[in-house]
Symmetry: C2
Subunit: 348 residues, 2 copies
C-alpha cells in the first residue's frame, strides 16, 4: 500500500532495509495551560444542569517521547492550520516524519495539539463546524500543484493513496483560532519542560513568535513556511501586501516585546514554486506575499540586533518543496538542513 | 508535580526506581476508513467555492507502536465518549497507561481516535460545539465520587492536579456520534492490520461489537465498562431499564449478525460503587442498569454458544474502580487481569 524508501544515516541499520528500533526512555501525554469556565449557581448531583458546573478548556495536548541519552534541549513541534500533531508523524506516503527523524537524532520530542484542535478539543468558546469541501483548494494552496495537475518537480508522492492520507490529516477547529490562547498554553509548556527549541509549521508561525516573547525558555525557533502572524514593532509595520489570495497584513507589537525576539536564533524555511511576480494563480500568489513579508520580518529582527535567517530552499538547490516541507519526499534533506542550523547555533 | 509509583514486574528495572526503556521497532500514524463527500460543479482554482470540491472525512486516526519481537496479535484500543486515544496514555496522576503497559508486555498497540473525534475531526456531517460545563456531572457519572466528595475507596489520586488532567482529557464530537460510521472505519483498520484484539472503553462497547460482526479479524474483545449499544438478536431484546440517569434500551440485530459474536472470546469488566437497588443517586444509578444489561447480554451470547465472561471486579476483591479502570491507581492490577484473560484464551 505504501512505498518504502531507503534512508542513509548512521541511525539506520547498515543493511539499509529498515530503520533501527527507537529506544524510548519515557513517553506519555498531558494537558498544559488552559482555563476553567464556571457557571454560577449550585450543582445538583441528581438533576444536573449547567448551574454550578465548570468546564476545563483552551489547554494544549502534548505527546512526548524521550530517547536514551537525550540532547539537552527538547524539540517542541506545533502544527499549522487545519492540522494536528499528526503533521509531524508518518508522511502521507508512509515514511518517517520529523517526530521519528529527530528522535533518531537524539532529541526529546513534544508534539502539540494546540488549544481547540485535535485532542485538545475542549474550548471555552462555541463554534459551528461545517463540512467544508476544501481538498482542491488545499492542493493548490499547499503548492502540491494546480489541481488536478502536480507541479513537475513536486516532492509529493503521486500514488493516490498518499493524497488520500494527506487530505485525511485535515482536522477542524473546535473553537475560534486565537493566537494568544495558543501562545499562553505553549508558554505553560515551556514553563513545565524548561529550555527547548520550538518548531512551527505554517499558521503556527505567529503563535510561535508570541510564545518566545512570553517565555525565555524558548532557545531557538525553526519556522517552516510561516503563513501569518508576522509581528513588527509599532511604527515599523510594513504596508499591506495584496495578492490573488487576499491581503496579507503585518501586525504591531510593542518595541519591548519585539526586542525579546532578538535574543534567540531563528531560521525560516520556504519551499518551491513561488511566483516572483504577481499572478492570478491564487494558490501560488498566496505565498509570494508571505515570502516577501517574511523577508521584511527577518530584516527587522536583525536590524534590532537579532539573529534571524531566511532560507528559500530553491536558492540552495533544494527544489520542489510543498508547503509541507516536513513530510515532503525529501524531508530527510530538510531535517538535515535543520540539524545543521541547530548545530551552528549550538542548540544540539 | 506528579506522583511516581513503583511497579513490580520483570519488564521494569530491578532497582525499581524507573521503568526500563521501551524498544520500539516501528511507530507512526495513518488514517483508515472514511468517506469522500463531493460537491457538484467545476472547481475554479483562482476563484474557489464549494463547487467541484471534495471533503475527506469520517475516517479514524491511528497511532501505532510495534515493540521488538511483538506477540502475534496486536491490540487495538478504542476510547469512549468525550475522549480520544489519550484515554490509554499517561494516567491523570502521571503514571503509565494501557498504551505503555501493554507495549511492555510485548503487544503492538494501535490507539484510535474514532471518526469525528480528536485528530480524526473531519466529519461529512455538520455539528455545533457548545462549551458545555460537565465537570461535576462527569465526576459523578464516572464514579469518582459524589461531587465534591470522593468515594472512600476510590482508585483516583486526590491531588487536584490529577483531577485537572482528567477533566482536560475531555474532547468533543466534531460531528454526530454514529456507531456504524465508527465500526466501518474500525473494520477497515482490521482489514489493514489483520488479526488482532480489540479493547473498548465505555461508549466504544457498542461500536466494538459491531466491528467484530463486520470483521472476523477481531479475535477477542476486552470491553472495559461498556455503557451503551448492547445488541441482542431480534426477539430477544430485554425490557427497557429505567434509572435515575434515564432509560437504557437494548438494540436489535439480526440473528445471523449476533451469531458472529459467538465465535470469539469476550470479557467485560466493571468497577466499584455500583448500587444494588434503584437509587436517586444519578451518577451511580446510571451504572446499575448498565451492569444489569451487560449481565443479560453475556448470558445471551453464551446461550447462543459464545464465550463471554463478565467480571464485576469487587466480587474478586478489586475495589474502588472508577469508570476509567484503565487509568485508575490500580491500573496495573487491571492490566494483569486482562493479561490473564488473554493467556487463558490463547490470545497472547
Amino acid at each position: 500500500m505504501f512505498s518504502t524508501q531507503l534512508i542513509a544515516g548512521s541511525a539506520f541499520a547498515q543493511n539499509g532495509s529498515k530503520p533501527e528500533p527507537l529506544v524510548i526512555q519515557d513517553q506519555g501525554s498531558f494537558a498544559v495551560g488552559g482555563s476553567v469556565a464556571t457557571t454560577p449557581g449550585t450543582y445538583n448531583n441528581n438533576a444536573p444542569s449547567a448551574e454550578g458546573q465548570s468546564l476545563h478548556g483552551d489547554h494544549a495536548y502534548v505527546f512526548y517521547q524521550v530517547p536514551e541519552k537525550p540532547k539537552p534541549l527538547p524539540i517542541v513541534m506545533l502544527h499549522g492550520a487545519y492540522q494536528s500533531a499528526r503533521s509531524w508523524e508518518t508522511t502521507p506516503d508512509g515514511r518517517e516524519g520529523f517526530q521519528n527523524l529527530f528522535l533518531r537524532r537524539g532529541y526529546s520530542t513534544y508534539l502539540v495539539d494546540q488549544p481547540r484542535r485535535g485532542r485538545a478539543g475542549n474550548s471555552t468558546v462555541a463554534t459551528t463546524i461545517e463540512p467544508t469541501p476544501y481538498d482542491q483548494l488545499f492542493f493548490d494552496q499547499f503548492r502540491i500543484g494546480k489541481w488536478p495537475d502536480y507541479f513537475d518537480n513536486v516532492q509529493f508522492d503521486r500514488d493516490p493513496e498518499a493524497l488520500d492520507q494527506f487530505f485525511r490529516s485535515v482536522t477542524p477547529n473546535t473553537g475560534p483560532f486565537d493566537a494568544n490562547v495558543i501562545a499562553t498554553s505553549m508558554s505553560a509548556l515551556f514553563d513545565r519542560i524548561g529550555n527547548g527549541i520550538l518548531f512551527t509549521h505554517s499558521q503556527a508561525g505567529g503563535p510561535g513568535w508570541l510564545t518566545a516573547i512570553k517565555n525565555p525558555n524558548v532557545k531557538g525557533i525553526v519556522a517552516l513556511e510561516p503563513g501569518s502572524g508576522f509581528i513588527f514593532p509599532e511604527g515599523e509595520v510594513p504596508a499591506d501586501m495584496p495578492s490573488a489570495a487576499g491581503t496579507l497584513k503585518g501586525e504591531a507589537v510593542s518595541a519591548a516585546d519585539f526586542e525579546k525576539l532578538t535574543r534567540l536564533p531563528i531560521v525560516v524555511y520556504y519551499g518551491d514554486n513561488f511566483p516572483t511576480e504577481p499572478t492570478t494563480e491564487r494558490g501560488q500568489d498566496n505565498w509570494r506575499v508571505r515570502l516577501a513579508m517574511a523577508k521584511l520580518w527577518v530584516d527587522t529582527v536583525n536590524k534590532h540586533g537579532g539573529d534571524a535567517t531566511l532560507v528559500h530552499l530553491p536558492e540552495i538547490g533544494i527544489k520542489g518543496g510543498t508547503h509541507f516541507l516536513i513530510s515532503d519526499l525529501n524531508n530527510v534533506e530538510i531535517a538535515d538542513q535543520v540539524s545543521k542550523f541547530l548545530a551552528d547555533k549550538k542548540l544540539d
